[in-house]
Symmetry: D2
Subunit: 148 residues, 4 copies
């Protein structure tokens, strides 16, 4: 899609606002450009697993969704995306107040788009990488992404 | 661990009760045995993505956590597990009232355990498979799974 | 494709005969049906990694290719498949004389097909599972699978 | 391991020389440093799949092995690595004379090491990325990586 920065930001914003589960968790976009999106999530006690770390499911959700919206910024008008599969490596137990994610398209294809997403926190100004995901999405006419 | 069925059920129950994010979503175990666990989740509007389907992050969370607890039933006393990585294929858009998951250990190793998890719904008595995950967990002394 | 068993076997046979790297390794199909293919490979010293085990690359090749041909048996006339991605778990070091693989389609879609492939050896009549792969292939018109 | 550049190069060289399947394909290291290795492979007709592209199995082999040796440069004396799992995205059909690979450690852990490997060719001085893999390896005492 050919959008100016303001349109792009509105598009990305709505890509999160329309997904109830992103709202439920508290994920929100903070920056974007063509083919990339950044998000953040204020970590609450309810986001944790049994030992107090951020649950892998929370990390996967922010990675998958940020990746999907990043991919969506690259597709033609009238098309949208659905996740086909993703793989995430949990590199170290995640403890933080604010979880950050940056997703960037690795390959934008006509039918398939591959996106990488890093989930991290900032500590003393440096990136502490918690997990890294590779997300494959299918590009399809918007109608095909809707329930029938 | 050598546990009788009652101990196993209590162990599995607490494997979900202690994980805040599982409680937040509403995931609960329904059946288990050595090396396998089954769970369910009543789907609410807040679990959906932009088109009304169950969010990939919800499917990943139930798959990862059910797999982790299934793996935990196979480790020696004093040991626990942490997810190293997982990969999930989203086979079709998920629409359902009750999401089900069954995780089963494929290979129980001393250091690494590999688990498969299927996420599905029942429809007319048949399994409608939404996604399938392969989860790799590390087996480690309980102390190493705690925040330091 | 609607093929009788004889046509199916010829189709599968040619799916390996035309792939030079399968011939180079020595991979050959041994059985098939709609949506599944079985193959075998006589292990030679040149297939090994540094410790004498069957190289992960050999296991990946037989898994990926057997999966691709299994997927190809499910697509419509005029269409073919290309691998989009795969993930393989190496469950234990592989030592054997004959490596076997069975690939079976998990979900046959119009655009995307997901296949599972197990790589194993028989020992005392039982399956010794070395690795398990999940392979995602794209279904596309035959012309789109050819170099331009 | 603490090695000077000459020792590191000898170590990496032997990491390929001792793996018969790497020699069989023709994979050879071209550069290395602590935590990274680069390799190349002159593509021959026998490396191709049915349409003349470099087989996914060839790409996986160079990615997995280059990643494994990159990981091995980061482990302590007396330890070695074995691949636990990997995932590879095949981004576009691969046509080239010389296949290149660069693997770089993303996270070097005491028990688990995660490595990223890019498989590409140079065209007009630019990188043409064919596939990208994420490889998880287990770090273990050398004796545990040997057949018993």
């Amino acid at each position: 899609m050919s959008m100016n920065q303001q349109q792009l930001e509105a598009f990305v914003q709505s890509g999160f606002a329309q997904a109830a589960f992103c709202g439920d968790l508290g994920i929100r976009p903070t920056a974007c450009g063509p083919g990339w999106v950044e998000t953040e999530l204020a970590i609450l006690p309810r986001h944790s697993q049994q030992n107090g770390f951020v649950h892998a499911g929370v990390q996967s959700t922010i990675a998958d969704h940020t990746a999907g919206v990043a991919a969506a910024t690259t597709v033609a008008e009238g098309f949208s995306v659905l996740s086909v599969e993703f793989k995430v490596n949990l590199l170290r137990p995640a403890l933080c107040d604010i979880l950050l994610c940056r997703a960037e398209v690795l390959k934008a294809g006509k039918h398939i788009c591959v996106v990488e997403a890093e989930v991290f926190a900032l500590k003393d100004g440096a990136k502490r990488l918690f997990s890294k995901a590779t997300v494959t999405v299918a590009v399809m006419p918007i109608a095909d992404t809707q329930p029938r």
